[in-house]
Symmetry: C3
């Protein structure tokens, strides 16, 4: 593994289509032998949540409701129509034998892609470590993310 040839993907979006893109790129990078790190921040955290979570404060509870569901509950950035879009996308992806989001995530993990939750986002959104999937890598702040990025050939903000 070349020390300065990694791929870093900052995932802020919680939209299905953008998550599919993020995981597809991460898988391609890892398959090419690149050190691959994904840093999930804000809405992106949904991609590595177990499912629902509930914040402690009144606001945390509201965020929990607004951001409910895990990786199978995310909708596309366009044309969601209250869930119809998500369903339509899933059917089309299945029809064309494109891997679903949860499998993409599993493949990424199997290939050694590190899935880091962003510390500050977890705090603001009142998401605890136990709300995240067991495979989540250690949480990281901006400094740690930049170190990974400095070892990377490409850093994407999705």
């Amino acid at each position: 593994m070349d020390a300065n040839n990694g791929t870093t993907i900052i995932v802020m979006s919680g939209d299905m289509d953008k998550l599919v893109a993020a995981f597809s790129i991460a898988i391609g990078a890892a398959a090419a032998g690149k050190e691959t790190n994904m840093c999930f921040t804000f809405w992106g955290l949904k991609a590595i949540q177990k499912g629902n979570y509930t914040g402690k404060s009144f606001f945390g509870k509201m965020m929990g409701v607004l951001n409910r569901g895990g990786i199978n509950r995310v909708g596309p950035s366009r044309f969601n129509f209250g869930g119809i879009g998500r369903w339509m996308f899933k059917v089309m992806m299945r029809n064309h034998k494109v891997t679903q989001l949860e499998e993409l995530r599993k493949t990424a993990i199997d290939l050694g892609v590190k899935l880091h939750p962003c510390e500050m986002s977890m705090e603001v959104m009142e998401i605890k470590k136990e709300d995240l999937i067991n495979e989540a890598a250690q949480s990281c702040g901006v400094a740690a993310m930049l170190e990974m990025s400095d070892r990377s050939k490409q850093t994407l903000f999705i």
Copy 2:
């Protein structure tokens, strides 16, 4: 042309303002003598479609309706108001002698910017090669995109 000084732009957005930004950066990069590749995925494909297209399956037909129109039918990411935003933006750009999207695309092509459609997106959205403009470069997957990106100084996800 420096072999490791390219610019790669992954275009996932189909929003007018983001496409203007993407093509403007690509043109600037190509004008500076950089190897410039744009990879269009999902909604971004609209920027290199001929116009309407119709998928074969029921879902493909629905995607065709939802994503209808070519580069002249895209609206801004904000304040579209059912087309008024697009019209307003076009008038303002014309008033200020800013180049319209279709001309931007033409300039990019003339300067040697390669416009690659993403394979997987074409398949999922049931867009065929003949639905794309003739100037479209060969379709590419993640591996090919990463190779271009590894030769680049900057890789943007728009």
Copy 3:
């Protein structure tokens, strides 16, 4: 300061959460001794506007109304609900001692982050130099942005 280790952030979004991310990364980069440049384009210009502005033409006036307010008037990209989302986010950020956007901007400026407005966007949206905060750096076009980016280890499009 390493000449080829900078960070360039193109900020097109005017969403609160994305601006928080952009400024947080910029601050982290500057704190790590990296040359850090932010280029604000389209909706991102709101982050360095003084407050309201009024374009001269009919369309410019409309843009002024649509894009009114400075950095304290931006809402999150999701769940804004006519301002409730913004308020909720601010309260949550305050409760968790996360720095507010205006302070983040001040910290970035204090650490030497350069805040460049994009020339073309200013023209299209009819925003004048005096509509921007005094700390704004000189405006730049794509060519100047790419030069900064060529000196950077990471270039993000937010």
